[in-house]
């Protein structure tokens, strides 16, 4: 009897022991999958996911398969922190990727830094990634201040002079983008006007009237996809038919298409983006399209490209880190990143020990009724032209 009991206990203990997860790299992904901006963040996650699925099917990375723990933060910082903690403690991830709105980053980073786990964001970025970069935080995403300055320079492709009116909602990121847009635009000789409306605005009419009254030559919208749709409809209804620039914070060619439908016209709709639209014929796009078709992602957009590029950056770091990669090793590998994206961005994604954002590339696109078409070449930004303190 004693022998039987001992045997049963031994078998049970063997069964409960942590399995030798031979050749598996555990990654974490936290983003908004159900909250107000799920429509933007979900495609970014899908882009990352299909990249990793394609790599797994192709033999994995550094001889190991990638296993991703996915959690939804619903655009809330407390849920992002909880998800990060759970992924570190229970899923044993070596890195956390994605994240959602920039307002969730600081709290999440405070948690991940306790365990020395690196974070690479795909969508939004905060200034901690800029030199002198803070530990364990990297980004391939859109930094509001950088976007504002880039848009000012790219406005020259639309109008060499005149009045630019910037519009945003009352948020830290929106105001930051608007401020840097203004500083750069004024330095380039443009006249400037701006309108800021409450975040929860449902009726854009009064704000569109204020914009129209300012007699703009170009209007730039610094907010998410749904605000672009509401504002352009209201602007066109108010009688403004001039150029409208969608700053790509979660907006894609789908946003441009819907904006054109809302406006009742394909004319004068532009977008500034860090990532090529999925319709663009560049070297790296076919692999994304093939993966999208293989893994059930319909109609990929530039948001999927965003996630795909993140996947490529992470995979590159994992390759160099090796099969036995741990958080410290991954962090060290990320600091030596230089990844060519095959035209999905204007140039390589590069991180260094001091700069976790690198040179960013931005391009102006115009909606032609069917696709976003590039206007001019990529603009390279090696950093901010104006200090953040000058806000």
């Amino acid at each position: 009897m004693r022998l039987l009991r001992s045997s049963i206990l031994a078998i049970a203990a063997a069964a409960m022991a942590a399995p030798a997860t031979a050749q598996e790299l555990k990654l974490g992904y936290v983003t908004d999958l159900s909250g107000p901006l799920a429509g933007s963040y979900t495609p970014t996650w899908e882009g990352f996911d299909i990249y990793m699925q394609a790599r797994n099917e192709d033999g994995g990375i550094a001889g190991a398969t990638v296993d991703i723990a996915l959690d939804d933060d619903g655009l809330r910082a407390d849920r992002s922190v909880a998800a990060a903690r759970k992924q570190i403690d229970r899923n044993r991830v070596i890195g956390i990727f994605g994240l959602s709105l920039s307002s969730t980053h600081a709290a999440t980073l405070a948690e991940t830094r306790k365990s020395g786990v690196p974070v690479v964001t795909a969508f939004s970025a905060i200034a901690e990634a800029l030199p002198p970069a803070q530990d364990y935080y990297y980004s391939t995403g859109v930094m509001f201040e950088m976007a504002g300055e880039a848009i000012a320079e790219l406005t020259g492709e639309i109008a060499a002079e005149g009045k630019v009116v910037g519009v945003t909602f009352d948020s830290v990121g929106g105001r930051a983008a608007l401020t840097h847009n203004r500083l750069a635009a004024e330095e380039l000789g443009y006249d400037w006007g701006e309108v800021i409306f409450p975040v929860r605005t449902a009726d854009f009419t009064p704000f569109a009237q204020s914009v129209n009254e300012a007699a703009p030559d170009v209007v730039v919208g610094h907010y998410g996809a749904e605000q672009n749709l509401g504002m352009i409809a209201a602007l066109r209804a108010a009688g403004y038919d001039g150029p409208y620039v969608i700053a790509s914070y979660g907006a894609s060619e789908a946003t441009a298409a819907q904006a054109a439908q809302q406006a009742g016209s394909d004319e004068n709709i532009y977008m500034v983006s860090r990532f090529a639209p999925a319709s663009e014929e560049v070297e790296g796009m076919q692999a994304l399209r093939d993966a999208a078709a293989a893994y059930g992602v319909n109609n990929p957009t530039s948001m999927h490209v965003t996630g795909w590029v993140l996947g490529a950056v992470v995979a590159d770091a994992l390759e160099r880190c090796g099969t036995e990669c741990d958080p410290e090793g991954l962090n060290a590998a990320l600091q030596e990143t230089s990844v060519e994206t095959g035209g999905l961005t204007g140039g390589p994604i590069t991180f260094s020990g001091d700069d976790h954002y690198g040179t960013s590339y931005w391009r102006l696109y115009k909606w032609d009724g069917t696709n976003l078409v590039a206007v001019g070449d990529w603009l390279a930004k090696d950093g901010l032209d104006f200090d953040i303190e000058s806000n």
Partner: protein, 288 residues
């Protein structure tokens, strides 16, 4: 001119929303906190039906959606709200708050958090110049409000059912003793309320973009109803235009970022002066 037109249009929408809240409160002393959610749900339903029936004129789709939502309102009363008759007012209020949360989730799940435009019409009737224009949808909104309130006043003054409704509003006990079918009246109240909510939601969606966050227009409607008086249709009309004027003029002439707060400052001021609303019945305030 632009200020006048846009204030009138927004006021018409808020008044219609307020009217729906008033009709339920007047009949049953229940404040419906889910009214904005019903309005936006109805508008999303219009969007889906109009996409599914591309050849059908918009007005017919609106009639269909209004009928569906009116039936939903009557059903909701029979299935849920009827069981709360006689309970303390806060119980029914909490139920409507729960309904609001469920409806918002239904919108998010049903339409995948998508922003949609109703694209009712882009015809411009009058164009005064840069920004000063009256579009067909704006004219329809104002006319609909006038027609709706004319119908409401006529119904409650001249229609037999309207007089019964007024009896129930005055005293449900006495009305029931006079053979008035209380449940029929209350179901009718919910049907009318949801029908008017849908119309307001569609008109709002025709002017702007619909998102799950659009449910906040319900707060504007509730504010208008409270300012005007929860049991007064005249108050709903007055409150709707007052809240719209305060919101729109603040956004345009003072500071856009204050536009959200001004209606509630107005509400506080009215509540301190006349807690039952400008045109409401002075009464013991035991409602939630």
């Amino acid at each position: 001119m632009e200020l006048v037109i846009n204030t009138l249009v927004l006021g018409a929408i808020y008044s219609l929303l307020a009217a729906g809240i008033v009709v339920i409160y007047k009949a049953s002393r229940v404040v419906n906190f889910a009214h904005g959610e019903f309005a936006v749900l109805g508008a999303y339903l219009y969007f889906s039906l109009s996409q599914a029936m591309p050849g059908v004129p918009a007005i017919l789709v609106v009639v269909l959606v209004t009928a569906i939502c009116a039936a939903l309102g009557a059903t909701l009363y029979h299935v849920l709200m009827r069981r709360l008759v006689g309970r303390p007012p806060f119980v029914a209020a909490m139920v409507t708050i729960g309904l609001a949360i469920i409806l918002k989730a239904a919108i998010v799940i049903g339409w995948e958090s998508r922003s949609v435009g109703l694209n009712l019409t882009r015809i411009v009737l009058i164009d005064y110049g840069r920004g000063f224009r009256l579009t067909l949808i704006e004219a329809i909104t104002i006319v609909t409000c006038i027609a709706a309130f004319t119908g409401i006043f006529a119904f409650f003054r001249y229609a037999s059912l309207g007089r019964q409704f007024r009896g129930v509003a005055e005293s449900a006990l006495l009305a029931s003793q006079r053979q008035v079918n209380i449940n029929l009246i209350l179901a009718l109240a919910w049907a009318l309320a949801l029908g008017s909510a849908v119309i307001a939601g569609v008109l709002f969606g025709g002017r702007s973009i619909l998102t799950p966050q659009s449910v906040f227009i319900g707060l504007s409607g509730l504010t208008a109803a409270l300012v005007g008086g929860l049991d007064s249709f005249r108050g709903a009309l007055f409150g709707g235009f007052l809240v719209a004027a305060a919101t729109y003029l603040t956004a345009r002439l003072v500071d856009p970022s204050l536009a959200e707060a001004v209606p509630f400052v107005l509400l506080l001021a009215v509540m301190l002066w006349r807690p039952w609303g400008v045109f409401g019945t002075r009464e013991e305030l035991n409602r939630v």
